[in-house]
Subunit: 163 residues, 2 copies
DNA sequence: TGTAGTGGCATGAAAACCCATTGTATCCCC
DNA sequence: GGGGATACAATGGGTTTTCATGCCACTACA
């Protein structure tokens, strides 16, 4: 599991009435260097009230990892069940969305709700994946370090928005 | 075993009086990218009260995998028997059904019964394969993680159905 | 001749696509 | 170093295409 290109940086983009957002160009360039797909995979983040996102190539890697884990371990009913559940979470609980020539995706309504996304989307690179937050929730979350919140505040200011 | 295209996402479709369902387009596109068949293979899921489904190309892969497993292990009578049983399950206990130009399959009555499918079919991608559930049973199953049930509830809501 | 299974067609809703415009950062020339 | 021009990113709107699904017509078998 060594992906050469990593997601990094931050951006704050608008979500329009149709639920569309521009995926920041610097994230798109990573996706396209990792593979040749022009799509991103969306999932509910497992510990934050936000979305987790990555490219299809990363999803495939994750799957291969799970498979190897299963083959190594005993094929006991418990191990089987655990495998089934993780596989379901990894694939059924995610949605793959393409972005168009101008780099925009439309949020599937379910994901938009699960990620609490309203009219602004904060993109944060985290290496192998990136996150998409509602900036308001980001500032409220007590698990987020103050320095990161400063970034969010800065991005808001940039747009002439208070907080 | 490295399939490039993976089944992912979820959908809830209606089963009509004749037992026909639309296979979601995003699953069909994976099937057609994996091979050129416009058919799906149905089987009773080995640990859930639901159906497991995949494309013919994957069935071939599965067969090859079983063969390799047999070659690796001792060809003891027990191993032989185990192989025979699994092979039977993989092929005799499955049904291959074509989908028409509008993407619809007809559930073979036996499969419909084995999978407990009534008038709604919940499709769930799981990477190499996908599952087809009766949404009511899905919500009742205690092995299904709550996050996934939320997805099912959301899909029902989308259709204006309670639960 | 009725009935059941199959295949194709029609429709309404939703999603993908395309084009235009704005804003911003960059580059080049003066 | 300043000013204009250029390229790319983000966003708004409208139009076309696709999807799911109901409906009807045809065939086969009883």
């Amino acid at each position: 599991m060594a992906l050469e290109h990593l997601f990094q940086g931050s951006a704050l983009n608008a979500v329009d009435a149709k639920g569309r957002v521009s995926v920041p160009a610097f994230l798109r360039s990573v996706i396209e260097r990792r593979g040749d797909a022009k799509t991103i995979v969306l999932a509910k983040h497992e510990s934050f009230p936000a979305l987790s996102a990555y490219d299809p190539a990363y999803a495939a890697l994750k799957h291969a990892k799970l498979e190897r884990l299963l083959e190594k371990e005993e094929t006991s009913p418990e191990a089987q069940l655990e495998y089934q559940q993780r596989n379901l979470m990894a694939f059924a609980a995610t949605e793959e969305v393409p972005y168009d020539s101008s780099g925009r995706i439309v949020f599937p309504p379910m994901m938009r709700r699960k990620g609490n996304i309203e009219d602004l989307a904060l993109f944060l690179g985290t290496g192998e994946t990136f996150q998409i937050w509602n900036p308001t929730l980001f500032l409220k979350d007590r698990h987020v370090p103050e320095d990161l919140k400063d970034i969010c505040r800065y991005r808001l200011e940039e747009r002439g928005l208070s907080a």
